[in-house]
């Protein structure tokens, strides 16, 4: 499938849109106006989710999760969806570039560029310096990995391949090796456990495989009559993951370790039931003999009673799971914490079901920071003649104190395969820009047993080549056809696919086609349970060096965000415009500081802070926000780019600049001591582009909650929720002046389950992509002109360190306040209950927005445009709005129409589940349910009767068709 179509480079230059030529002979599989979907694999992070790329008339206009894929099951995070902005990024290299003597990049032809590379290798081998070649790549597996290794071997340096992943979880891997004897990362099954404690593992944001874990988390936390499974988060910051916990235990960075040890201590002291044998218990007792609960409590500042309660609940569970972040970048003592957490996982034998070492993650293949350190040393000592870099940006993602820039600068020849300019590529002498993954053939295996295939879902946008093709062609040139017999990388991939099945290429044609259609090859998930056997005897629980406690200053924690991962997402406008889940800030870095600390230090929002650690300093604006405990600062990782294109550059700041130049001797990861920093207020106030008007709800009860006991009681008593359904029966002459609307066949309705919402913002980006919502940039966000049709509103709790989210979109009210005030009927109530905004009719009085209590209408303050070729992403089914026009959520009316046409062709009505909206489609936690309220069997009809159902601002009698389900209040964590 898709070969002919995908290799036809339609619309590959922006000029082609100026003149429209019909095909003389139309490509077979392109039907104008009809989308083709190509299954491929997301390469925005090593999680390797399955993608479906929607190709309309030769261009990918949207990517969605592949429903068949075992990792993401049809769901996709914001980053995955923004891969389109990697594809269409206006700052991509338009073709090969060579750096001239003046340090500028000049265009060069591919033939010339490949010749330069070949010449260099010839020169190196002539001098007998083959060993002085290194190839630095991101995490690759499968054919590409084999090719790189083979190529290097042919060139004479078989050890030259260094896989560099900024987040490679050295602490976790090392702890797994020590405790379970396996240097690797298992697949976790959060959905199979019944008590979860996370030691700063942000598994809903970036940790290992966030979409998969968000899905599992949603099913783990599903509200049932007996409540939900408890989740405790221990960490230095109220992160998105922490805010989803029943209880956030704030600790200083690295003190998660102490809490984990405290739990072990309680389990031993209180003689709690466990599956540990007598010997293991005794062994653990002896290992922990130097640790006492009161000391732990004193050092960590966590109440003894609280540790005791959590430990009791943990031990009482059948399958309790403890996750430690194990990521040296994300906090001190990553290894030690993972060690203690692994022991906790061994307490109950049932936990084995949730930790699957039989299909280890490919993260285990990644090099460790110490490998990079060694490489840097080699480079600095002049030991390298040729460095090739593909899919890695160490200059940005390693601490400034490592001086990676200087190291790379001392290499005589640096070749970058980067598709876009980044900090590392600026140092390249030769740039051979690669296809982005959406334009490439390839395979990637996120863990054993799953191989995702990548196929080009459209022709190349720029004059780029597959790095595999470049390697093969240069290999042919240097070592002859015999050593590199493949025509191109595709052929190699195809042969390697066949070889994996131990068959010939011809024999595997059917399975290849099927694999391409499915997006890859995978087996059924493992069903059996292994007992984990922690090898306690080998463990020593070190008393941590608490840094210099006399060192004054504030604690600092750096954290990866769901938008930017390690920073590679920062050049995607959608991700920059997506408000950070907790701070709700767009476009830019910041320093989170507790409002009390801020007022003590007389720091106001936006004050530029000069943050200095012993190893470096950064400048970033202060953001007083109750997401950190007093005395702790938090800085997101991923901003602070200097040469990463127009969308990323100049936004403050990279917290890695505060890190030491060492590696951790235990785990081989980055050294991460407890960072104490001093701050100095600079005489400058930067505006912060946050989208929230207030931290709190101010008693408005927009997010409503109920206790599990009330929920249970309501269920048993059959209590109906008190809502005004957006149907004629929701009207009451007592309070309604106008008669009800009549509906024809459908009344579209959405149910939003607030108890499931994790706040990740995937729905927001899906909406941007589906509906051509404009990105307005920092300056306009500051002025309150962001255009998001759907926003995930964050509210902190006024009386507790907790936060919750409220996805807010047009409520498609039955009695819509916006409809009655428009003088020209631009907001129009359709026969299917939709509140349609007729763009062509709107002349911009903005009265609708004024009268809209939900404030979900967005006005086009300008004619917002997109720099080419970002405009190639636009969905042709949705109008692009001009200045002066109001717009808002349409319930994806284009999808409704498509579904209706489809159903009509089949001679029936649209059925429940035929289609859904873009937000509902992508939500990893299944927050949204969309359907027809006139169909009594539809899921929405059933959910509307849920005792948790309510309408936001229902007292205004707007009768919204977006029905919310109340959040269940967390149950107190008592013994």
């Amino acid at each position: 499938m898709g070969l002919a179509g995908t290799t036809t480079a339609l619309g590959c230059s922006p000029e082609s849109s100026r003149t429209l030529f019909p095909f003389v002979s139309a490509p077979e599989d392109i039907v104008p106006g009809k989308a083709s979907w190509y299954a491929t694999t997301c390469r925005e992070c090593p999680a390797g989710c399955g993608l479906l790329a929607k190709n309309r008339d030769g261009r990918i206009i949207k990517v969605e999760g592949n429903p068949l894929h075992p990792v993401n099951a049809g769901k996709l995070c914001a980053r995955g969806q923004a891969s389109l902005h990697g594809l269409y990024n206006p700052d991509r290299f338009p073709g090969p570039r060579i750096r001239n003597t003046g340090g500028r990049f000049e265009a060069v032809s591919w033939e010339k560029a490949e010749e330069i590379l070949a010449d260099k290798i010839r020169e190196v081998s002539r001098k007998g310096r083959q060993a002085r070649i290194a190839f630095l790549t991101g995490l690759t597996t499968g054919a590409m990995n084999d090719l790189v290794n083979l190529w290097l071997a042919e060139m004479g340096q078989p050890q030259g391949h260094i896989i560099y992943e900024p987040f490679s979880y050295e602490g976790l891997r090392k702890a797994n090796q020590v405790v379970f004897g396996i240097d690797g990362i298992p697949s976790y099954r959060i959905d199979l456990c019944d008590f979860l404690v996370s030691f700063n593992a942000g598994f809903l944001e970036t940790w290992l495989s966030n979409v998969e874990y968000a899905r599992q988390f949603a099913s783990f936390r599903a509200l049932a009559e007996d409540g939900k499974n408890p989740f405790v988060f221990v960490g230095p910051r109220l992160s998105m993951t922490a805010a989803n916990a029943d209880l956030w235990i704030p600790v200083a960075p690295g003190d998660e370790y102490l809490v984990a040890l405290g739990m072990l201590r309680v389990i031993l002291d209180d003689n709690l039931p466990s599956s540990l044998g007598r010997n293991e218990r005794a062994e653990l007792q002896s290992r922990l003999r130097r640790w006492h609960l009161d000391e732990i409590s004193r050092k960590s500042g966590v109440d003894q009673g609280l540790i005791r309660s959590v430990a009791h609940r943990f031990a009482a569970a059948e399958k309790p799971l403890a996750l430690a972040h194990g990521l040296p970048v994300a906090g001190p003592r990553a290894f030690e914490t993972a060690l203690a957490s692994n022991i906790l996982c061994g307490i109950q034998s049932g936990t084995g079901a949730a930790i699957d070492f039989s299909s280890p993650s490919s993260y285990g293949n990644a090099g460790k920071a110490e490998d990079l350190k060694a490489l840097c040393r080699t480079m600095r000592e002049g030991g390298l003649d040729l460095l090739l870099i593909h899919d890695a940006n160490p200059v940005f993602s390693l601490p400034a104190s490592w001086e990676v820039r200087k190291c790379i600068e001392s290499v005589p020849m640096v070749v970058s395969f980067s598709s876009t300019m980044d900090e590392t590529s600026t140092l390249a002498h030769l740039v051979l820009p690669a296809h982005t993954p959406l334009e490439s053939w390839g395979d990637y295996s996120p863990r054993r047993g799953i191989t995702g295939l990548m196929q080009p879902a459209m022709g190349a946008v720029f004059n780029t080549r597959h790095p595999g093709d470049v390697l093969i062609s240069s290999g042919k040139k240097l070592k002859g056809e015999a050593r590199f017999p493949w025509k191109d990388f595709y052929e190699l991939l195809r042969i390697s696919f066949a070889a994996n099945l131990r068959k010939s290429v011809e024999e595997t044609e059917a399975s290849w086609q099927e694999a391409l259609r499915n997006g890859g090859v995978w087996g059924a998930p493992r069903a059996d349970t292994h007992r984990l056997s922690p090898q306690i005897s080998k463990i020593d629980f070190p008393h941590p060096d608490n840094g210099d406690i006399s060192d004054p200053g504030l604690l600092l924690t750096a954290y990866p965000t769901v938008q930017f991962f390690d920073g590679r997402g920062a050049d995607r406008p959608w991700l920059q415009e997506l408000p950070d889940p907790v701070t709700q800030v767009t476009w830019g870095g910041w320093v989170e500081i507790h409002p009390d600390t801020a007022s003590e230090l007389r720091i106001r929002k936006g004050d530029l802070l000069h943050v200095t650690s012993r190893y470096g300093s950064i400048d970033a604006p202060a953001l007083p926000v109750p997401s950190v405990p007093a005395g702790t600062l938090a800085v997101p990782i991923g901003q602070g780019h200097t040469s990463f294109g127009r969308f990323a550059d100049g936004l403050p700041a990279n917290p890695l600049d505060l890190f030491p130049p060492d590696v951790d001797s235990h785990s081989g990861g980055l050294a991460h001591p407890t960072l104490r920093v001093t701050i100095e207020k600079k005489d400058l106030n930067l505006l912060i582009a946050n989208t929230d008007g207030s931290f709190y709800q101010h008693g408005r009860e927009l997010i409503q909650t109920l206790s599990v006991a009330d929920f249970r009681q309501a269920l048993s008593s059959g209590l109906r929720p008190n809502i005004d359904v957006p149907l004629p029966e929701g009207f009451d002459p007592e309070k309604d002046f106008y008669p009800p609307h009549e509906h024809k066949d459908y009344r579209w309705c959405m149910v939003v389950d607030l108890d499931r919402c994790i706040g990740c913002g995937a729905c927001v980006v899906a909406c941007y992509a589906e509906n051509n919502v404009a990105v307005v940039g920092k300056e306009q966000v500051i002025r309150g002109r962001e255009m998001s049709w759907l926003r995930v509103q964050r509210y902190f709790q006024e009386d507790a360190p907790a936060a919750a989210w409220l996805p807010m979109l047009c409520q498609h009210c039955e009695c819509a306040p916006c409809e009655s005030v428009c003088p020209v009927y631009a907001p129009h109530h359709s026969k299917e209950g939709l509140n349609n905004q007729v763009y062509n009719r709107c002349f911009g009085t903005r009265f609708c927005s004024q009268n809209d209590p939900y404030k979900v209408r967005r006005f086009n303050w300008f004619t917002f445009t997109r720099p080419a070729p970002l405009d190639m992403q636009l969905n042709p089914d949705v109008l692009v709005r001009q200045k002066g026009v109001m717009e808002k959520c349409s319930f994806c009316v284009q999808r409704i129409i498509e579904a209706k046409i489809d159903a009509r062709n089949k001679g029936r009505k649209v059925r429940d589940g035929d289609f859904t909206t873009a937000c509902a489609q992508t939500c990893p936690a299944d927050v949204f349910t969309f359907g027809n309220l006139l169909d009594p069997e539809s899921r929405v009809s059933r959910l509307v009767g849920d005792p948790r159902a309510y309408q936001v601002l229902g007292h205004l009698n707007t009768k919204p068709a977006v029905i919310y389900l109340k959040r269940a209040t967390p149950e107190p964590m008592t013994v």
Binding site: S694, P823, F859
Partner: protein, 445 residues
Amino acid sequence: MDTLTYSKINQDVLRTLDPPDRTYVRLVAVLFAGIVMGALCWAYQIRTGMGVAGIKHPVAWGVYLVSFVFWVGIAHSGTLISAILYLFRASWRTSIARSAEAMTVFAVATAGLFPLIHLGRVWIVYWILPYPNQRNLWPNFQSPLVFDVIAISTYLTVSFLFWYTGLLPDLAVVRDNSKGIRRRIYGILSLGWTGTHIRWRHHGTAYLFFAALATPLVVSVHSVVSWDFALGIVPGWHSTIFAPYFVAGAIHSGLAMVITLLIPLRHIYRFEHIITMRILENLAKTIILTGLIVAYAYGVEFFIAWYGGNIVERDTFIWRAVGYYAPEFWMMIVFNTIVPLAFLFKKYRTSLTSLFVICILVNIGMWCERYVIILSSVAHEFDPYSWGIYRPTWVELGIVTGSFCLFFFLFMLFVKFLPSVSITEVKEALPPPTRQYEEHPRCSD
């Protein structure tokens, strides 16, 4: 008025139409430049998008609608003075009725620009009119903005006709006292007024009818304008007292504007014997009344916000008093309700300085009132996530300044080209001429 005679009135009023001096020309030129500046700002806004203004999410209405309501409000006392006081036979109104009525026409015309300036796509503004079209698309008669169009256009038409009807005999006076092209122009404008008995009878009847027609409009227009807000569900707008509250406020600001205009007019053209201190004093007394009504409305708003028990409503009003717009709020309270109380003392009602200063303050206060009502309500609405602050930009300030220039420009032209005091009505108040006045020259009536 003892010294006044028919001829003296003619002379005094016609003197204002003499070729202007240099100061006048300079002033008009400056005002015209201001209009051009405002127009350029508007052109820039149309070309670039509404984003050049400070309006934003959630405050989508800014100083344009503030100015709209302000100018509509100004318009009110013109009609109050010329029509209502006419019907009530308050004879002290005669000398100021003309300029008050002119002020009404110009203020409504200026006000009418703002809904256009405020539109996102002004080039299709005619869609709001109920004109027959193939698509059978009609405006939404539920929308207060459609009420507005009807109310404002009716008001503009009626007040213009009322004003023009009153002008007719005076235009004839000008015609009869001029020569050449000027005589022709005023001849056309005076519609061939001959001053026969039957003309006078028709004129009197028409004037009375227009007065009767304009009177309910005083109430209705600003009630309708208030419904732009009161029919919304926005806390701070959604209130049944809005119609009378706005009408009182409109008259309050209108009276202040009349005095603001009359004092310089009277001084420049030496109208002291026509626009007497008694008239100004009467206006000042009325301002005390309207100020008290406005104060009552402010009080009721706060009382209801507390008594209603709606936390959103309550927070809105607390925020008005202590939040971002608190300076404007307190200016509104002090200037509109407390400062005018000074008129209780005769000393302040009869001093031109204090009259002028207090009326300027009331004008500022009333502008602030609209600013506070329109902005602070949506800025601090139901959903705290969507709270936001609005500040006007230079484009908005340029356009608003341009609108003031336009208003004063029109008024300046009016005093130079049309009789700014009603010659006929002032004469009516005089004892009819008897034989002792045989000597006086021919006059038109």
